[in-house]
Amino acid sequence: MNEQHRDAFETRTRALFQDSVDNLDFAMRSRLTQARHAAIEAAGRRAWYLRWTVWTPAAGVTAAAVLGVALWVGLPLGQHGTLADGQSNFEDLELVASSEGSGDTMEMLQDDIDFYDFADKVASPDPAA
């Protein structure tokens, strides 16, 4: 087969195919358009990094971290992480943050309020007495 025949054959087949593409019926074109829209919608779902459901918690965590760092940096030098008596305030933070047994502790505090009152009086006796 010479090149000229081959080119003519290729041109004819291409034209026939294009003709069949151009003559697709309306129903099929419509279904293809729907398929395309579904695919684009799927791509939209894929762009997860733009969704507020992802960004809101992330932004919350970031804001908390920024605030924490800002407060930390904002304290005067030499006072980071310590109290006046030299005790680390991280220990207090840990106690506050820990949820374990917090209910029991509150109950105990309420029950023994009389005891604490008594202990306070013993520790600092009334000078008038």
């Binding site: 081959r6 195919f17 293809l32 395309r36 579904a38 684009i40 791509a43 605030l67 800002a70």
Partner: protein, 206 residues
């Protein structure tokens, strides 16, 4: 020294300036992707239809390819979309053909009515002669296309793929090689064999 409020304000301003730009970029590529799919979808559908002989299956395969492209490769440069799309499409066509082969084998062992081997069961209304005036040129074109489709179906899958991508889709050798995941030399060989085989099947007159 900056106060915590200043730090928060700065962080907020940075986010405020980045978010619209990010959103705009995504919208831009989504629009570009949609344009690409709109350009390609009908040819892709016809190619799948030629290979599968079934419009519904062809539509399913094209839609799957679109979804896979948008989900997995949308962030790639747009120049890569076409070969990627056709690779996904061809994989889908091959998977479906394999499933059909397996189903056909199973069906031959099962009792009861057999599945139509070529899935060519036709609506009887399709065989009713058209009462309207026949247009000879259109009829000849339709017949020629039908013969071409039959010829393409008779080709080995790789030859058919090379012929359709090079000739129907107008891809160059390098792009076709990327779509077929093979060397450019293989593309040339497959294509040349496909043209020879089709010419022989369809005859010199066609």
């Amino acid at each position: 020294m900056s106060t915590p409020i200043d730090t928060l304000n700065t962080a907020w301003m940075v986010w405020d300036s980045l978010a619209p730009a990010l959103k705009g970029a995504v919208l831009e590529y989504t629009r570009e992707l949609e344009k690409f799919l709109a350009e390609i979808e009908r040819r892709a559908f016809r190619m799948a239809q030629v290979a599968l002989r079934d419009s519904d299956d062809a539509l399913d395969v094209v839609q799957d390819a679109m979804i896979k492209l948008t989900r997995n490769y949308a962030s790639r440069p747009s120049a890569e979309w076409r070969p990627l799309f056709y690779r996904i499409l061809e994989n889908g066509i091959r998977d479906l053909q394999r499933r059909r082969t397996v189903r056909k084998r199973i069906m031959t062992w099962l009792p009861g009515p057999k599945e139509d081997p070529d899935n060519e069961a036709q609506d009887p209304l399709e065989n009713v002669a058209d009462a309207g005036p026949a247009i000879p040129e259109k009829l000849m074109q339709a017949e020629a296309m039908q013969r071409l489709e039959e010829g393409l179906r008779a080709l080995p899958a790789r030859q058919r793929e090379a012929f359709m991508l090079r000739n129907f889709e107008g891809m160059d050798v390098a792009e076709t090689a990327r779509a077929m995941a093979c060397s450019q030399g293989s593309v040339k060989t497959h294509y040349s064999r496909a043209v020879h085989a089709l010419r022989e099947q369809l005859g010199e007159v066609w």
